[in-house]
Symmetry: C2
Subunit: 165 residues, 2 copies
């Protein structure tokens, strides 16, 4: 069976992965969150080959995550600025960081701690909650077809419902 | 310059990416959230070659995201069950899904909607907030060295502080 392309999948997770391209891409976005704007800054931080970085940045510009902005004539001619679509990746990056703080480094060994700039207070953990603020686990959540569900997705969710009944 | 390995980076995001391996891996975890447990279920859902799926599942077991459990003698001999470490990836997957609901499909066109099983209510959006519940944007957040910061990370954060001052 051939590999399904992510962009043919009727799934938000797969579509996000398709737009982002690969893991490197998220590290480029991470560096932008920390203030990197120029090609050379991303290159130094990531230790990535110029041609690969160049292709990744182009992909991110094509997908509207960065915009390329003229930046004068000294040094790099362009800067890469996160768009609102790019800034909206903040919860994805924070969720990945918290997962590895908990499960890889362990609390008390985090390489970096995120704080509110205005107060210096540590950010509270990102939690999946219901509308009353109660934390939800995987078993508490039920996937249902949305307005954009394909016939295939609807059938799959119906089968799962039947097997969980 | 050689490619830095993710597992040599003093960064939670990079470590999470290293443990997860590649994009396929997150789709395997997604399917497990939806109830898939057997090799054949993952294979049908993903349309992925057996040898690739097998390698990804092995990686996830090695990293403690799944445990492989004997499942009798009919059909697949093993099931793959998410561990607590695997279930803790829930915010990562929800953040990716919400990002693509907002920025790729658009609200009103979501392929899937997640609801609280007990009440049928839609899950509220995952937001990065401060301790008072106020939503934070990228510019409101300051990365600071944690107890596990390397000398290199400390120097990098100090340089960023200086250039933001």
């Amino acid at each position: 069976m051939g590999r399904k392309r992510f962009d043919e999948m009727n799934c938000g997770v797969a579509q996000a992965l398709e737009a982002l391209g690969d893991w490197w891409t998220l590290l480029i976005v991470r560096d932008a969150f920390f203030g990197a704007r120029r090609f050379g800054e991303f290159e130094r931080s990531l230790g990535i080959a110029k041609n690969i970085l160049s292709a990744r940045l182009k992909r991110l510009v094509d997908h509207g995550v960065f915009e390329r902005v003229a930046a004068g004539v000294v040094g790099d001619r362009y800067e890469y600025h996160l768009t609102p679509k790019g800034e909206a990746l903040l919860p994805v990056l924070i969720a990945l960081r918290e997962w590895s703080d908990d499960w890889i480094y362990g609390r008390g060994h985090e390489p970096m701690i995120l704080r509110e700039r205005a107060t210096g207070r540590r950010l509270p953990r990102l939690r999946v909650k219901n509308r009353d603020g109660v934390e939800l686990k995987v078993a508490d959540i039920k996937p249902t077809p949305g307005p954009g569900a394909s016939a295939e997705s609807r059938a799959l969710l119906a089968r799962r419902d039947a097997s969980n009944a």
